[in-house]
Symmetry: C3
Subunit: 453 residues, 3 copies
């Protein structure tokens, strides 16, 4: 069977591990918070950066390895694939990002200096890959996913480095750098992997009672720890505090809105689990670019509502349109949850920057205009232009990078499943005996109530 991983996956992983081990051996050492020689008896060991960073790192870990895993396991016959390929892709992505980002940000004296702080940055790069993964879920082999990560991480890292180093924008939650980049990269990949037959639907594209519950639990893990995600890289103190407040409020308002729209847009007035699983999270992205600014809690609430509406309408109308007309088959609708919301967040940040002033920020104004210094400070309008430039750069590199990566993923021998075998765990996994039962659902849809006594 062409999809067999027997030779290809081990060979690819072996190559990647030798590469990683080589790079770790040659270039990676501890940073001053993790190196014994950097310590003196005078050190107050509890001042070590690890104590400030690790709690946020642990929360993001739960999001990446458990939240994403469960959320992606929503398909009736692709639960193993959702959880396990997320595990594989994430694990490689983080290690690879530690190296690549290391050369960009933490390289001096011929060494990459690492600590837990690097790990958080690497997990953000990993989140980028997993978001893009959502566009091709069930249509790609683990071999393809590893190659996608191999290519996406460097393209992302360089884009991120350019934005952080030269453009110095406000984007604490990563709405531009993470979500928009990840979304359009993923769309580029799935555009190249276009499968005409899937536009007629696919027998495996349904959920089960258990998979729907598992998936919404993934949503809840992401929901609960999203404030840690959006605040992990802000300035400590009130900035980080605001990031937590805004994320929580934005998520809450988008959740309420999602319930309302889900019932409203369903002809029977029933709630759809896929709306609950995805649209409720829109607010977390929408507040991202302004998450640490003085935008008021009410504004965070409003952003959650607006982002949720855009996301919901996207799922309803834009995703089908893109699949049929633009040949962009966005499996998990990442364009709705990460793209549209990211664009709204970018716009909100520009407005917030134009309105920022000393009366609101006092001495903290420089956190809005990072470059502000005697002589070379930026004006609000200048900063706004930098934000737009960052958006343009992210869009350009992600689309081009995605298309290029997609083209490479079409190479033969990457174990890509044929159309019939999409969204099917049997292709890549030994499955238990009851898989058949799962694969043959009993009869027609069950949600007609007259069946009841």
């Amino acid at each position: 069977f062409p999809g067999s991983l027997r030779v290809r996956l081990p060979v690819l992983i072996l190559v990647l591990e030798v590469l990683l081990l080589l790079l770790f051996s040659l270039f990676v050492t501890y940073d001053e918070h993790a190196h014994a020689l950097a310590q003196t008896n005078a050190t107050d060991h509890m001042k070590n950066e690890v104590y400030r960073v690790y709690p946020f790192f642990a929360d993001v870990q739960v999001m990446i390895f458990i939240g994403f895993a469960c959320l992606l396991a929503f398909m009736r016959l692709y639960g193993f694939g959702g959880v396990v390929f997320n595990f594989l892709t994430a694990t490689f992505s983080v290690q690879w990002a530690i190296i690549i980002q290391g050369f960009c940000h933490f390289y001096h004296d011929g060494k990459i200096h690492i600590g837990v702080f690097n790990f958080i940055n690497a997990e953000f790069a990993c989140a980028v890959v997993l978001i893009s993964f959502g566009a091709v879920l069930g249509k790609t082999s683990p071999v393809q996913l590893l190659i996608m990560a191999l290519l996406e991480i460097p393209i992302f890292a360089v884009t991120d480095w350019l934005i952080v180093t030269y453009l110095k924008i406000n984007d604490a939650g990563g709405s531009i750098v993470i979500h928009i980049f990840a979304c359009y990269f993923g769309l580029g990949v799935t555009r190249m992997l276009y499968r005409p037959s899937l536009n007629d639907g696919h027998a495996n594209l349904t959920t089960s009672y258990q998979s729907d519950i598992l998936s919404v639990l993934g949503t809840l893990f992401l929901w609960v720890f999203w404030p840690s995600f959006n605040s992990a890289l802000t300035l400590p103190g009130d900035d980080q505090h605001r990031a937590i407040i805004h994320t929580f409020i934005g998520l809450s308002s988008s959740t309420l809105t999602a319930f309302a729209l889900s019932a409203l847009l369903d002809k029977k007035g029933k709630l759809s689990m896929s709306d609950i699983q995805n649209v409720t999270l829109a607010g977390g992205v929408t507040v991202g670019a302004t998450v640490d600014m003085m935008v008021t809690p009410a504004c965070a609430f409003a952003l959650g509502v607006v982002g949720c509406c855009a996301c919901m309408l996207g799922y309803k109308y834009l995703t089908p349109f893109m699949a049929t007309k633009l040949k962009i088959q966005d499996q998990c609708g990442i364009h709705n949850l990460h793209g549209l919301t990211g664009l709204i967040s970018t716009l909100a940040a520009i407005i917030a920057i134009l309105m920022a002033n000393e009366d609101t920020y006092g001495l903290k104004l420089q956190s809005v205009f990072p470059d502000i210094q005697p002589g070379e400070g930026r004006s609000a309008s200048q900063q706004a232009i930098y934000q737009v430039a960052a958006l343009g750069l992210a869009l350009a590199t992600s689309v081009l990078g995605g298309l290029l990566t997609g083209a490479i993923l079409k190479l033969p021998f990457l174990s890509q499943p044929t159309d019939d075998y999409c969204f099917d765990d049997r292709v890549y996994f030994e499955v238990p005996n009851d898989f058949d039962a799962a694969s043959t659902p009993p009869g027609p849809p069950a949600d007609n109530l007259q069946e009841l006594p």
Copy 2:
């Protein structure tokens, strides 16, 4: 179909969101830990309150949105309802509580000043609503649940404010303020929503193998983070330390006891999952009112055992009696897990207060007698009387509030399900094809062993 949410849920949520947005816009601003203007270059940003409060907030978040969700998903055909309606109710309750509690506790200079600290308080108010929710699980529509939260939060907040401001009692774990109030409010509501036919049982009132496992995982999430819940609002330092110690020990002893009683009270000598899911948690409530006092670890252990016994006997004998004789149908048995245990905890606190003295507490004695000050200090017996007064107040407002709320929930057009459609996800959700399989369990109970080889 009368249960349709198509118009009612969106309209209600729209109204609530407009209300929330209006109140946020007019009254909500940042507190000094989250406001940029309150910061100076001199500030040590790591001293920001957020670093003390956020870890406990995150733990409570997991309990509210994941622990409760899984625990409530124990029914075979109501897994979506358990997880998703918990999500909706909790999300609205927290936002609503931020406003209402804000006016009670954090309102000055014409503004409600918020930070993560407010969020913890709001999550406690949210826990109150979710506990009450347990009494009417599966018998109420999301419209009714939102209206219940809309009414319960203010009644709770005012009761809480009166107790904290004037009675100044010892109740760090909220056994009186949270658990007893939530329990009797919920019983009041379910009394008004009495459904005679349900006393003859209901076809949907069974569990499935998967729903039992999911539910016990919810128990474990609550169990693991309960120490954070009971210690989140204590004084920092040794008080908080004791709260963690006592909660962990109390939960452990009640868990061991629950296993013993579950096997003992079953005629076949088998363990019942519903006992493991609920009764094991009794200790967390029972230690609540004395959780930060110098009651000795042995006392926490004993409280866990006593609370567990009361809880177990309540499930076995009191719940059926209340359903048939008092017309109080307590779906999840909240009276056993939160009511009886809360009363025991209240009594324990009174005894602990009467025994408190300088020899045990030293300078910390004032944490037991909050009002202690030159001239107007309280004696132990006075403090004990205040505890009783708080109990009486909580009982009165919760029962009356619950009955009133229940009466309002009986209004037409709130999409309340008819008896036949109780505990059935099909009423409010698009369900997957395999729901039928779930809804028609194969044959008779399976736990007779002669069926085995």
Copy 3:
């Protein structure tokens, strides 16, 4: 039915609880971080040890009560047993360890002084019991499991005390003290409980689609929080920081390796869920004994790869050999995941110690040679010998203790299930109606693809 718990479990638990309550009453008091009298107004309450220790304790709690629970629930008909017996055994083990370790380490002035720090130590003792539990999963009654914990905790505590007090070895992650001891103790027990018929397989020894997913989620919880486990008891500061770094890198490299080997060693080139569930974690143990040393990140990466290979080959070839030839039936393959990896880790630590010098560690060298002091300091080779001595001691006490415990568990009246009733929840639990469906899987293995269109 002989397996009935009706009398035996309640009686045993009653005895254990009376014992615990007695010991708590007579000997347990608060340590200086939890005792009110130890506080003065001058105290900075945030300096209380609880704030340094509790976050790590909470993470380990999730591993013990949720991670282990899910991982052990991989069997189709033993999901209740996996989750619930883990809950019971863990709860008793922690309480029992608080007492026993208390007498070993925290006993002075006639009292055991406890705080959250004791709880972390107790959870490690608990992890030891749960690892041993893996060897006899599904073949032992809860009565037997409690007696196993009752005996294993003291034997472990004394071994641990001897090693910590006199041998003073480097083993921050507990590869020797925890994993090797737990593994060989468990093998000793299962050797005594040898069941010849099980070597011909057992009808219940299969997984289901849901149980495989649940189990891998347990793996992910363990994976995510393992860095907290390995770093919880290191020196604060850079040592703890390195422990986190090494654990994360070691887990990542072993995860990648596990995917490669799983596909390579399967004749169809498919991934096996049991490999993903178990072998991915090998790196966490393998880095354990050197986890806080200056071994370089590359070394942690290499250790993860080596440990994973040993673990995978162990599952493939050693476990069957031990079951048939040595009459050691290792149900969960703990010898692969904890034994082989622990031995590799021990060897790595010896090499790392022999290579340790001032140029690498500077003033921190004493953390490698704990006893280093004017006059009586140890040399590297001396320290290496102590490591070997600790390994020998752990092996001796665990094997002997395990065999002794196993012999005692064979006593009658401990509700041990007969061969037919192994791995079957019906023996000890009231099961829901759909259990039959679960217990009769539809037809033959389903992973042949020609069945698809």
